[in-house]
């Protein structure tokens, strides 16, 4: 007789047009780390939302310690000691860390807050589990990793012993991921049970005890992690074999497509420059990757290249023309496509239908426009074509409102739209963020196909694995400067990590040596 702390039995949940969970059963043992694996839109988040009381299941039952419970809202979940950290954190930016932790569970005396007691408890928890936070810092000032620790402390503060983590590692740096895993193991040792949602097979293999797999809303099975392999897990998740290595022909760099000289971009956060006089080239038919820990100026560099932010000094040449001060539309027409970092802010008009989003970069072209009118039929058929080519799943196809789609499918829609334009330069920022292995595989293939067709690709990624497998040349950024240039064949992840952390740095001559090795003269 197994000691199940939570059992979700035969859960079915339907939304208009889509069956998100279809007879799903999930059993969580006491003190285990249980991974929930599935493709984008497989119904993982829906299932967890049912457990946390955000959705009511159409049928099925939930048991806590063998007794049937009804979880009508997150307060009920809390009373059952179930806590959840959402993919997008639910923190009050202008509150301090301590205030955020006690918010909703404040200790009071005569109606006045008693923060001293709360502070003692928080500090004790923080020390016990190695969750280092500064209780007086404002949430808006702390790193994403620390925000996540605040969210975890919130659960602990409420004495939750069933912890749900929705894609906890998506926003973390490799070092932070290691720390998080250590913390998770600590919880399990204390008898807390952890359910965590992820796409990343490595993490499942590293930290979980068991893994349940969902595919297209259906329950596929649960396996003991120690008896399984990455290959088997991905087969369960995708329904076919997935290759983890990226096959690509050697790079044949052509003409210089993008040339950046001494580019400086002011920071929005502080008075310093976010990008400090950076120079590099990207050639036709090569994939250049900007690597670095988040917040070292890569994002600002990309925004300046694509025209979303203004550069304060330096020059950007695109196909021999100076585009430093060109408007965005002009850059796009000259042949630049951009998979943006923030898909909600820039990538999609969330309240537009999918079909209108698919033509967001092209609606004014003669193919889709005549005499000022939009050819909606053409827009529709174009959207249908992209949807089937890039396997974008949604409830109502081209008519789906983008906001109603799952994050991974939103990403696939953007990637499809930008890749299909077959431009001279593709600026791709985290193109596979939040995607499952199957989708990552196909997007990597598409990016390499674009490269082989002569597109210059500037890739920015925080995933070192992606950086190593996809790029032809790696530029490491640290504090707004390029501190090293590498050939992925001749560098190790550990070595890159040193440069990313600012512990090592190539001098200029070394950098040009590295460039010379690749047969490329760097300006």
């Amino acid at each position: 007789m197994d000691d199940y702390v939570i059992e979700m039995l035969h859960i079915t949940k339907t939304f208009p047009g889509i069956r998100a969970n279809d007879d799903v059963t999930l059993q969580l043992k006491r003190g285990e780390i249980h991974a929930l694996l599935g493709e984008n839109g497989a119904g993982k988040s829906t299932l967890m939302s049912v457990l946390f009381g955000l959705y009511q299941p159409d049928s099925g039952e939930i048991r806590k310690d063998g007794k049937t419970v009804h979880i009508k809202d997150p307060n009920d979940a809390n009373a059952l000691h179930i806590g959840m950290v959402h993919q997008h954190f639910k923190l009050v930016d202008v509150f301090s860390v301590l205030d955020n932790i006690i918010l909703g569970a404040e200790t009071t005396k005569y109606g006045l807050l008693k923060k001293d007691e709360a502070r003692r408890k928080v500090m004790e928890l923080s020390q016990r589990y190695g969750l280092m936070v500064d209780p007086d810092a404002l949430v808006e000032d702390i790193s994403v990793g620390m925000q996540q620790r605040v969210e975890i402390l919130k659960m602990l503060y409420r004495d939750n012993d069933i912890l749900i983590l929705d894609e906890p590692t998506a926003v973390l740096t490799p070092q932070e991921i290691d720390e998080l895993m250590e913390i998770m193991r600590g919880f399990a040792r204390e008898g807390k049970s952890i359910l965590f949602i992820t796409h990343k097979l490595n993490e499942i293999m590293a930290v979980s005890d068991r893994c349940s797999v969902l595919r297209k809303g259906k329950y596929i099975g649960t396996v003991e992690t120690k008896d399984t392999t990455k290959e088997e897990l991905s087969r369960m998740m995708v329904g076919r074999d997935v290759s983890f290595t990226v096959d690509k022909a050697p790079c044949k760099p052509g003409d210089t497509v993008l040339s950046v000289q001494g580019l400086t971009v002011p920071s929005k956060l502080h008075s310093n420059n976010a990008v400090k006089g950076v120079s590099f080239d990207v050639h036709a038919g090569e994939i250049v990757c900007l690597a670095g820990i988040e917040g070292n100026g890569q994002s600002d560099l990309v925004l300046a290249l694509t025209g979303l932010e203004k550069a304060s000094a330096g020059k950007i040449e695109f196909c021999g023309k100076d585009i430093t001060h060109s408007p965005i539309r002009k850059r796009a027409l000259a042949g630049m496509s951009h998979i943006p970092e923030d898909r909600h802010k820039h990538g999609l008009v969330l309240d537009y239908s999918l079909e209108n989003n698919m033509s967001l970069q092209r609606y004014f072209e003669p193919e889709f426009e005549s005499l000022g009118f939009i050819k909606q039929k053409k827009v529709h058929s174009y959207a249908e074509k992209l949807i089937s080519e890039y396997d974008v799943r949604s409830a109502e196809g081209p008519y789906t409102i983008a906001r109603a789609m799952s994050g991974g499918n939103q990403q696939k829609a953007i990637v499809g739209r930008e890749l299909d334009r077959r431009t001279k330069l593709l600026v791709a920022v985290q193109p596979t963020r939040g995607l499952d292995v199957g989708a990552i595989e196909s997007i990597h293939k598409e990016i390499i196909a674009a490269r082989d067709a002569g597109t210059a690709v500037l890739l920015m990624s925080l995933e070192l694995e992606e950086v190593m497998s996809l790029s032809d040349r790696i530029l490491v950024m640290y504090e707004g400067e390029i501190v090293g240039e590498f050939d992925p064949q001749k560098v190790t992840v550990q070595e890159l990590g040193l440069y990313m952390a600012g512990a090592a740095r190539q001098d200029i001559s070394a950098a040009s040596d590295a460039a010379a090795r690749g047969g490329i003269a760097n300006a």
Binding site: I328, L348, L360, F364, R393, G397
Partner: protein, 398 residues
């Protein structure tokens, strides 16, 4: 099949709007019953419940429902001035509703319709009384004046990120007192008729500036109804609504404007000039409100009173409620404007000793309030219908 789903959802919006209207009317009737009951009980004579209800109906509610058809009963309208002045009010209401609704669609809150309306009135009347231009030229002037008055807050929003609500409110008052001063001109303005202490009547100064009507010889029903002050203005306004619908939903321009409205950052990413679009959207909203004033003052029913008009024209704010009731849909706005004009005409016809005419405003106020719940009604309806139509072993659609 999917198109059908969208059609049904559109239908839900309509049905829930009608539910709002019905609840608002019901509440209005309840208030009338309360008034009627309190007046009976204060008289100190015996009365029956039937009397209370019949008074509330006969002398109150029925008249609101009849609107411009008061005097006519439920009969086919003859040459009724009341009905014609109701129709005359539809055009400006519709235009102000379109102005607010259009701005909503592009992500802006145009609370400045009142000021743009004022400027539009000035533009129309100045061209009519000083420049002696024909009606269509005066209408163009009202469009132009309103557009400029809308564009200025748009400019501040686009280039200095100053909230358009704040600037529009200030420009409402600047516009009102500016126009009053210009029209009055210390009593010496060409536009000002000192004897009536109002702006000159168009009939006396420049009859060509009056918008044409059907030259009512009373031969046909159409002729009877569309005689001054009811002119072709209402047809112009409806045509504008249809054009606006097409622009918003079928054109590249509308696509860009709505993209800016939904997400400024995504529009910028797509290379849309969002600053230009904000100014243009506000200018168009202003032009619509300005045209509304032109369509009203060029019928010659009412004269501007520069010394007493010290409150912003209510038309601008009624536009907000008209737009809300129609969920900013230009075609829907046509119907909500007709409805609003109808009950506003009926309100003052209630028995004044018993019922305050503001009950009509209570009704429309309730309806607007309920509009906020419209989404709720809509979702409930959708949940009911779709749950029933769901296939039991439905597969996930790709």
């Amino acid at each position: 099949m999917l198109n059908k789903r969208r059609f049904i959802q559109g239908l839900f919006t309509l049905v829930s709007a009608i539910i709002c209207v019905l609840i608002g009317l019901a509440l209005g009737f309840i208030i009338l019953v309360v008034f009627s009951w309190s007046s009976y009980s204060s008289k100190g004579v015996p009365y029956t419940v039937g009397q209370v209800f019949s008074t509330a109906w006969e002398q109150g509610f029925k008249r609101i429902l009849l609107g411009g058809f008061y005097n006519l009963g439920w009969k086919i309208p003859t040459r009724s001035l009341l009905l014609r002045s109701e129709i005359c009010r539809i055009a400006p209401l519709l235009m102000c509703g379109l102005s607010v609704g259009f701005a909503f669609k592009t992500g802006l809150f145009n609370i400045g319709a009142a000021g743009q309306y004022t400027l539009g009135a000035y533009g129309a009347l100045m061209c009519a009384l000083i420049l002696k231009l024909p009606w269509w030229a005066c209408l163009l002037a009202s469009v132009l004046f309103g557009a400029v008055w809308g564009a200025i807050p748009g400019f501040f929003k686009a280039y200095f990120n100053i909230n358009e609500v704040i600037t529009s409110i200030m420009f409402n008052w600047i516009g009102l007192y500016g126009v009053n001063t210009l029209m009055y001109g210390n009593g010496k303005s060409v536009m000002y008729n000192a004897n009536e202490s109002k702006v000159w009547k168009l009939v006396n100064k420049n009859a060509s500036a009056i918008i044409p009507d059907m030259k009512g010889d009373g031969s046909t029903l159409f002729n009877k109804v569309f005689t001054n002050p009811s002119t072709i203005a209402v047809f112009i306004a409806i045509a504008v609504a249809i054009v606006l619908y097409v622009v918003l939903n079928k054109t590249v321009f509308g696509y860009e404007l709505k993209a800016c409205g939904y997400s400024k950052t995504a529009a910028k990413y797509a290379g849309i000039n969002e600053k230009r679009n904000i100014i243009l959207a506000m200018a168009i909203a202003g032009a619509l409100a300005g045209l509304g004033a032109g369509l009203f003052y060029l019928t010659g029913t009412e004269q501007w009173n520069p010394q007493e008009n010290t409150a912003l024209p209510a038309m601008g704010f009624d536009g907000i409620s008209v737009a809300l009731l129609a969920s900013s849909n230009p075609i829907g706005t046509i119907f909500s404007a007709i409805f609003k004009a109808h009950i506003a005409t009926g309100g003052p016809k209630m028995e004044k000793t018993l019922f305050p005419s503001e009950i009509a405003d209570v009704i429309s106020g309730t309806i607007i309030y309920l509009c906020a719940f419209m989404l709720l009604f809509k979702n409930k309806l959708a949940a009911r219908v779709f749950r029933r139509s769901r296939k039991p072993e439905g597969e996930i659609k790709k």
